[in-house]
């Protein structure tokens, strides 16, 4: 081989290599900084929301217990109790799960196991697409269709109710729960199905006794994600909840969940009132963090 140009300029090469190592180091640092940015964001968010939210309890002598368990929310009279809202959020979420999860799960099973391929190929992406529709539109639909429907057909005095919230949330979490659990079900190894079918077990039997249990952790993830969506949803709920300040005793009561309390009054609030809305945010935040924690637990279990 003729004199190779690469080896020729040995010294220069070494110099340029040193440059390269420098660049390597620098870029590595830069990349790390970028990655740390999400940590910074999270810390900032937690920091600011908690700082603002705890302010009245730390410096102004409001009692956090009264805040959590108080039943009166009259900002203009300095009464800040969010117990009705906590109850509303919890009920709304549970209700939405009770209605939404079975339907979503059955739909996912249907799409993954039963539906003819051609059908599943149309329906699955369509359902996914719906996960992307702005939640406001679900609210518009709820306000314009579900609320009057409940009013007229159940003979309610007000259609804005816990039930309306539950229905809207159940609908909204369908796409998420369907899509995630469908993926989980599809990921169950074919060998499980074959093993069961080879024992002369029917297809449906196989699905419910082997496939779904095997996809358990994925399905749980789906449920927790759906739950997160339900607890955190704001703009759709605000339109159908009625936002009354009562502890709901029936499905037909109108309610004010935590999220809507913030969105409803944030614009109008100042001073302690505003800080109390941040405190509401803290409570909401804690619910979500708890859920995330549960989710992390589930997925680490699923990994094993």
């Amino acid at each position: 081989m003729s004199t190779p140009p690469i080896k020729n300029q040995n010294q220069e090469v070494e110099k340029s290599n040193r440059m390269k190592y420098m660049l390597e180091k620098l870029s590595g640092r830069l990349f790390m900084l970028c990655a740390l940015l999400s940590v910074v964001s999270l810390v900032l968010i937690i920091g600011f929301v908690f700082y603002k939210g705890f302010h009245p309890f730390v410096t102004q002598g409001y009692s956090f217990i009264d805040f959590l368990f108080g039943v009166d929310w009259v900002p203009s009279e300095d009464k800040f109790g969010i117990f009705p809202m906590i109850v509303a959020s919890v009920f709304a979420t549970i209700g939405a799960l009770i209605i939404g999860v079975p339907i979503a799960l059955f739909t996912a099973i249907f799409l993954a196991e039963i539906a003819p391929k051609s059908l599943a190929k149309i329906v699955s992406p369509a359902v996914q697409l719906l996960a992307g529709i702005p939640s406001v539109l679900y609210g518009v639909f709820g306000l314009a269709v579900i609320v009057p429907f409940l009013q007229n057909n159940l003979g309610l005095a007000r259609g804005q109710s816990l039930l309306a919230v539950i229905l809207v949330l159940a609908i909204m979490m369908l796409p998420t729960v369907v899509t995630v659990s469908e993926t989980a079900i599809r990921a169950v190894p074919k060998t499980y199905r074959e093993g069961s079918l080879a024992l002369g077990v029917s297809k449906i039997g196989t699905i419910f006794k082997v496939v779904v249990p095997a996809a358990k952790s994925g399905i749980m993830t789906a449920v927790v994600l759906g739950m997160g969506r339900a607890i955190g949803e704001t703009m759709a709920v605000i339109l159908v909840a009625g936002n009354s300040l009562i502890i709901p005793s029936s499905l037909t009561d109108s309610v004010r969940p935590l999220t809507t309390n913030i969105a409803l009054e944030m614009g109008y609030a100042a001073g302690t009132h505003q800080e109390m809305l941040f405190a509401t945010g803290i409570v909401l935040f804690s619910f979500i963090l708890l859920l995330n924690f549960v989710l992390a637990k589930i997925s680490s279990k699923g990994g094993n």
Binding site: V39, T107, G132, A144, I171, S202, N292
Partner: protein, 275 residues
């Protein structure tokens, strides 16, 4: 007995799937049915009018585009580099776990909390005011985890052999990264970006509290302004005009639809790139 149970369950499966599809079709159908009459050129490109019904939504479209462009301009490079760090540079350890936890937690935070944060941090503390830039920065944080995650997934499927092949030729990690790894991960990264656009377009609570509701063509990124989704919310809220809200909804759904097709198209291309 088993047969009977099977049949019942089978029936339930069909019924649930039917219900899901029916509900979702109803919603989309309703929005189109209510809103299609208002859709025309003047509506899309016309200026907002305070008297409502006869005005257009051009200022909101512009604002929406602003927020998309600015948020992505910031979030995309940061997100990609962060993913590169996590996948290619970081040694698995505490730091990575902390970063992962943070990213995952950010994904789960409801947008109203982002709104609260944006309102005190960007709007008040950084004195950016209610403005497109405040909203865009808030949105940046919202989509950052989305981009990080999808990019990480895309990087994961780049075969190890590409990295080895390149490094074995005496190239640096950086060279390998931008000549070999990033190009092969590009389709995956793109679909992450499109996903983020969807998220930005659909967001309301966080924007509402950080950009305000000014219904005029924004002068600059420091102007307060109103996005399409916020507009659709306010129209429902303030004037109770369902038809108008639905018409805006149609525009939003079409945008989401187009984005979805783009994602599918790109991921199809991804598969081709493998061969």
């Amino acid at each position: 007995m088993r047969k009977f149970k099977d049949n019942v369950l089978n029936g339930l499966l069909w019924f649930s799937a039917f219900l899901t599809v029916a509900v979702l079709v109803t919603i989309v159908g309703y929005i189109f049915y209510k809103g299609y009459r208002l859709i025309n050129i003047d509506f899309i490109f016309g200026d907002y009018s305070p008297s409502g019904h006869d005005g257009g939504i051009w200022p909101m479209i512009v604002t929406t585009i602003y927020t998309i462009v600015i948020s992505l301009l910031i979030a995309t490079p940061i997100g990609i580099l962060a993913a590169v760090y996590l996948q290619e540079y970081a040694k698995q350890g505490k730091l990575v776990r902390v970063i992962r936890f943070a990213t995952e937690s950010l994904t789960g935070i409801p947008s109203i909390i982002y709104g609260l944060f944006g309102a005190v941090f960007f709007v008040t503390t950084l004195k950016l005011g209610m403005s497109i830039i405040s909203a865009s920065l808030t949105l940046t944080i919202i989509v950052l985890p989305v981009i990080i995650r999808t990019t990480e997934e895309a990087l994961k499927v780049v075969p190890r052999s590409y990295r080895e092949g390149s490094l074995a030729l005496g190239t640096t990690k950086l060279q390998t990264l931008y000549k070999v790894i990033l190009p092969s991960a590009m389709p995956g990264i793109l679909s992450g970006i499109i996903l983020s656009i969807g998220r930005i377009v659909g967001e309301s609570a966080a924007i509402f509290l950080t950009a305000g509701t000014v219904a005029a063509l924004p002068e600059s990124i420091f102007s307060s302004a109103r996005t399409l989704t916020v507009h659709s919310y306010l129209v429902t809220q303030e004037s109770g005009d369902i038809e108008l809200a639905a018409a805006i909804g149609i525009v939003l759904i079409v945008v989401i639809l187009v984005l979805n097709f783009a994602t599918t198209f790109i991921s199809k291309k991804l598969n081709k790139a493998d061969y």
